[in-house]
């Protein structure tokens, strides 16, 4: 087990380095830097001034050395200008050039400063990630059990009425992207003029003007059912359909296996056949799919957080990209890469435990 884990971690680190380098290159392309210079310096700078700003702020030189600096394996840049003031990557306010450390990259825990939020990137990311963590947690808590139940129920008797109804629901939800289902949900449940809210308000069943809140901004401070249900449902719905389809396919296949017949002809009751014999075998395939949903959730939250104005990781990513906040964008990408790789590792290990035929030697 240990050599396997070490090898996997090695591969993960390599992948993370490669991917972050690619993102680094893309975010540090010349036009991006020029835009950065004009926003940070002055919009009306001449082209020469832009070039010197870029060089003076350490964005000149080879891409690979800049990447090394960002990573923290190459000493940070320093530059002494005409007035004898030394500035550098690692020289922050209140620190003299002599006291400053030589290396300051993400390996040293220095993620840079966000140009949008005017605060260290590390703080932004950790705050926002925590908010998104709550969203993802609730999505998973809703999505996984519901989709597995739907998948197992429709797969255990293929072609039955239950199967057809549930399959139709699953196909419908997975065919609706979040930006459509989100809008539909808002229209039905969270609009003061359309959907069911005006009716309920008229009957006096609800106190406010809408049943659910159309924005999740307040959920940052306090999560309630009314402000969080719609964003959670929007993300979960899509995943429910997808995982349910996977589970159903795997379940129908398992139900035709001979060992299910063996169990049935042993006199095992139908619900026991499902729970004891079919379920574990049927969950092997969907398990990988569920783990793949985590990175995909990061993508889903971009749309939903923007739609419901929930200031989490997805919203931050949009802000960073929209405002050319290079450091923040880089950090977001690294986090995304990390989430993908870790969930894949968990998925592989879990697979081994579910499937006794694949045991590590």
């Amino acid at each position: 087990m240990l050599p396997f884990l070490l090898r996997r971690v090695g591969v993960m680190i390599l992948t993370a380095l490669t991917l972050s380098f690619v993102v680094f290159c893309l975010t540090n392309l010349a036009p991006n830097l020029e835009k950065l210079a004009r926003t940070e310096g002055s919009v009306r700078m001449s082209d020469e001034a832009v070039d010197s700003w870029i060089i003076n702020n350490g964005h000149g030189g080879l891409m690979i050395t800049r990447y090394g600096q960002w990573l923290g394996v190459v000493p940070g840049w320093t530059r002494t200008d005409d007035k004898g003031v030394t500035r550098g990557r690692c020289i922050t306010e209140g620190v003299t050039a002599e006291e400053a450390p030589r290396f300051c990259g993400i390996l040293q825990g220095d993620w840079g400063t966000s140009t949008v939020f005017r605060e260290p990137v590390a703080k932004t990311i950790s705050d926002k990630l925590a908010s998104t963590g709550w969203l993802m947690l609730w999505v998973m808590l809703v999505m996984v059990p519901v989709s597995l139940i739907i998948g197992v129920m429709s797969g255990m008797r293929e072609g039955s009425r239950t199967d057809r109804v549930l399959s139709t629901f699953a196909i419908a939800t997975t065919a609706t992207p979040e930006y459509v289902s989100g809008v539909i949900l808002v229209v039905i449940f969270a609009s003061a003029t359309t959907g069911i809210s005006p009716l309920l308000a008229e009957w006096g069943w609800i106190d406010g003007r809408t049943l659910f809140l159309g924005t999740a901004t307040s959920a940052i401070d306090q999560i309630t059912f009314w402000n969080f249900a719609l964003p959670v449902m929007t993300i979960a719905l899509y995943g429910i359909g997808y995982i349910a389809r996977m589970t159903r396919a795997s379940m129908t296949e398992v139900m035709t296996q001979q060992y299910i017949r063996t169990a049935r002809l042993k006199g095992v009751a139908f619900h026991q056949v499902i729970l004891k014999h079919a379920l574990r075998n049927a969950l092997i395939a969907p398990f990988t799919v569920i783990m793949l949903q985590f990175p995909w959730l990061l993508n889903g939250v971009v749309i939903v957080e923007t739609l419901f104005n929930y200031k989490g990781f997805g919203w931050t990513l949009v802000q960073a990209a929209g405002n050319n906040d290079i450091q923040l964008l880089l950090a977001c990408s690294v986090v995304a890469v990390f989430v993908v790789l870790v969930t894949q590792l968990i998925s592989d290990i879990g697979y081994v435990f579910l499937n006794p035929r694949i045991r590590l030697s």
Partner: protein
């Protein structure tokens, strides 16, 4: 079940009809089937694939799936009609009163559950036993089915056991609740013969020990003779003959039963003097059954206006023990008349040397861990193979799975290259030349007929096109028209109608597909043909026809046939020389007569003893090998067979444990790789003997 009288039948099936309903039509699978099983009796159901024997078994379990239905008749178990029971009542009978053993043990065990849990489940459901008590019982039953180290097996997952062990677990599972009736659906078809012999012995002993009645389904008549007291022969959904095993075997009263016996190679059959008689025609599809007698169109005794007039009822044969036949003419037929002997042919003289292998070795290197890494291990698939094959000769290569016979075929064909040694094909050395590098001439001279005709034809290409494609590759014929002519001639050669050229493979039966496979192999005028179990996937009546076809083509083309098989009956029938392999070694090599008569190699002796023979006159010495074939990854030191050999004690010292036996050459060039002294070998008694008539 207190009101049940043990002198009454345990299972009574009366006029049972089963149909499967599809959108298009109702397909009758079983019609008017009756049979009775008394307590302690074992009943055999025998017939070719598609005759409905498994459907009967599943009907007894009332597990016909969503579209199968019992349309009429009754199945009485201990006097209670199963056809009218509710699911809940059935559930109490399944597993506790009636248990089933299946064809594929690996597929029948839950891969994600420990063996112990799967076994313990049965008494926990039916007797409300606690888990601990159930596991204890499971441990005891595992010991009963003669598996070593029960504690380890209880904790094992099915994939950690060998095929034979898995089947013993399935049997143990069936015995957990001490059922009154055991249904065995082809329980040994997926297993090797020596393993099969062990399982058959076990089933017979357990039947006696627990007094269980059995319904034993098989296509193998020899096995039925070994295990059963009574049998029921089925053909196309109907029981055609039923009775005491010995009576049906010796005094059959239905033409189908007779034809079946004539088409299987029994000792005494010979490809030249008394060839097998194949049943003409094809098995009728369920919706294309003829009027009247289903066997009519293929029957030698068919009489128009009588046999195809109306339903044929079962007719009791007086004076016999509950013997009945579904034939209208059984009183008129002279059952003792010898079969019309087909064409008797001369044995071909042995021609020039065609193929010579010398000291061929093939090793594979495999890594041990599932995720890579670990120590490299070497699988010795073939060890020092040496033999010669001549023109006109059929050389059979016999051995159980894992003995290296398929690796040998791959190396010969050039799909793999040998690790060392030489292969001389005519005067050309081919051992290092993979098939891509061989020239067209060599490739077309050396061809192969494959085991499974269902997978080896391209499903989206017409039969004619596939043969023409082979001709193109072999660079035969100068124009499309010429090749088309050659293709039609090839179809004539394999006795398929020329109209079949336009057909797609899915429209052909298994036997017909195999004929196409043979036509393709001979398209380039092959001189050496490797036939890898060419008939093992086919039904017995078709086997005879395909075997005869191969023989005919061989006579015409003077082909050298390398016949790879595990079926010793067919090997004895058609081969001139036999090579017996075990764990990559050739343990015995000689003419058919030499190999099938003493002195034997101890493995050959066990192999011969394990093969069930469907002849009541044959007396066999029973030699059951203990344990499984050792893994080729970790072969025993010294003699490869020493772990299972019953002669080992006769060899002085620990020679068998340490030294690989030398090849002893006996009279007539008969080779045996064994430490036994010449005297010991000469004193061996024959395994099979014919009782005096």
């Amino acid at each position: 079940m207190t009101d049940w009288d043990p002198s009454k039948p345990i299972l009574e099936i009366e006029n049972l009809s089963i149909s499967f309903f599809t959108r298009a039509r109702e397909i009758p699978a079983v019609m008017d089937f009756s049979c009775t099983v008394m307590p302690g009796e074992s009943m055999g159901l025998v017939g070719e694939s598609g005759c409905g024997k498994s459907t009967v078994a599943l009907a007894v379990m009332r597990d016909l799936g969503t579209n199968g239905r019992i349309t009429s008749g009754s199945i009485k178990f201990k006097g209670r009609d199963l056809t009218h029971m509710t699911e809940e009542e059935l559930r109490h009978i399944r597993g506790s009163e009636i248990a089933m053993i299946y064809q594929e043990p690996m597929a029948s065990l839950n891969p994600a559950m420990r063996v112990g849990d799967q076994l313990a489940e049965v008494p926990m459901i039916h007797q409300g036993m606690t888990r601990d008590a159930a596991l204890k019982l499971a441990r005891q039953i595992i010991a009963d089915v003669r598996l070593p180290d029960p504690d380890r097996i209880l904790r094992a997952y099915p994939h950690q056991l060998s095929g034979g062990q898995q089947q013993r677990i399935v049997i143990a599972m069936a015995l957990m609740a001490k059922p009154a009736l055991l249904i065995l659906d082809e329980p040994t078809t997926a297993l090797d013969v020596t393993v099969e012999a062990g399982i058959v012995d076990l089933v017979k002993d357990l039947g006696t020990k627990y007094g269980t009645s059995m319904l034993f389904i098989s296509h193998n008549l020899g096995l039925i003779l070994d295990v059963c007291d009574r049998l029921c022969v089925m053909y196309s959904g109907e029981a055609v003959e039923t009775g005491n095993v010995v009576e049906v075997f010796d005094k059959m009263r239905h033409p189908y039963t007779q034809a079946l016996f004539r088409s299987i190679p029994l000792p005494g059959a010979d490809k030249n003097s008394s060839p097998l008689i194949a049943i003409p025609g094809n098995f009728p599809l369920p919706h294309e059954r003829p009027k009247g007698c289903n066997f009519g169109p293929r029957c030698d005794y068919f009489r128009d206006g009588l046999c195809n007039a109306g339903e044929v009822p079962m007719d009791a044969v007086p004076g016999h023990d509950r013997h009945a036949t579904r034939c209208l003419r059984w009183r008129e037929i002279d059952w003792d008349a010898p079969p019309k002997v087909g064409k008797v042919t001369e044995k071909l003289p042995r021609g020039r040397l065609v193929l010579k292998m010398e000291d061929l070795r093939k090793y594979y290197e495999v890594s041990a861990g599932a995720f890579g890494g670990g120590a490299e291990k070497v699988v010795k698939a073939n060890e020092s193979l040496s033999f010669e094959a001549h023109e006109n000769e059929t050389l059979a290569i016999v051995g159980e799975s894992g003995c290296g016979k398929s690796t040998f075929a791959k190396v010969l064909m050039g799909l793999e290259t040998a690790t060392s040694g030489s292969i001389m094909l005519f005067d050309e050395n081919v051992q290092d030349t993979p098939i891509q590098a061989r020239n067209t001439d060599t490739v077309s001279k050396l061809q192969m007929v494959f085991q499974n005709p269902f997978d080896t034809l391209n499903p989206s290409m017409s039969v004619g096109r596939q043969i023409i494609r082979a001709l193109e590759i072999f660079q035969k014929g100068s124009s499309d028209a010429e090749r088309s002519d050659m293709m039609l001639n090839l179809l004539d050669m394999v006795k398929l109608p020329r109209a079949f050229a336009e057909r797609m493979p899915r429209q052909l039966s298994g036997g017909q597909k195999q004929r196409v496979g043979i036509a393709r192999a001979f398209a380039g005028g092959a001189k050496v043909v490797v036939a890898d179990e060419p008939v093992s996937a086919l039904d017995v009546s078709v086997q005879a026809a395909v075997t005869d076809l191969l023989m005919d083509i061989q006579r015409e083309n003077h082909t050298t046939l390398l016949f790879i098989s595990h079926d010793l009956s067919i090997v004895r029938y058609l081969s001139d020389r036999v090579m017996v392999m075990y764990l990559g070694h050739v343990v015995e090599l000689g003419t058919t007569d030499q190999v099938f008569a003493p002195p034997y190699h101890p493995y050959t002796e066990a192999l011969l003893s394990a093969v069930p023979i469907a002849d009541t006159r044959v007396k066999k010495r029973r030699i059951v090998l203990e344990g499984d074939i050792p893994s080729a990854m970790n072969p025993p030191p010294g003699c490869p067979f020493q772990t299972r050999c019953r002669w080992k004690t006769r060899v002085p010292g620990n020679l068998c444990d340490t030294v690989l036996p030398p090849v002893q050459v006996l009279a007539g060039g008969h080779q045996i790789k064994c430490h036994l002294s010449t005297e010991e070998l000469a004193a061996m008694e024959p395994v099979i003997s014919m009782a005096a008539e």
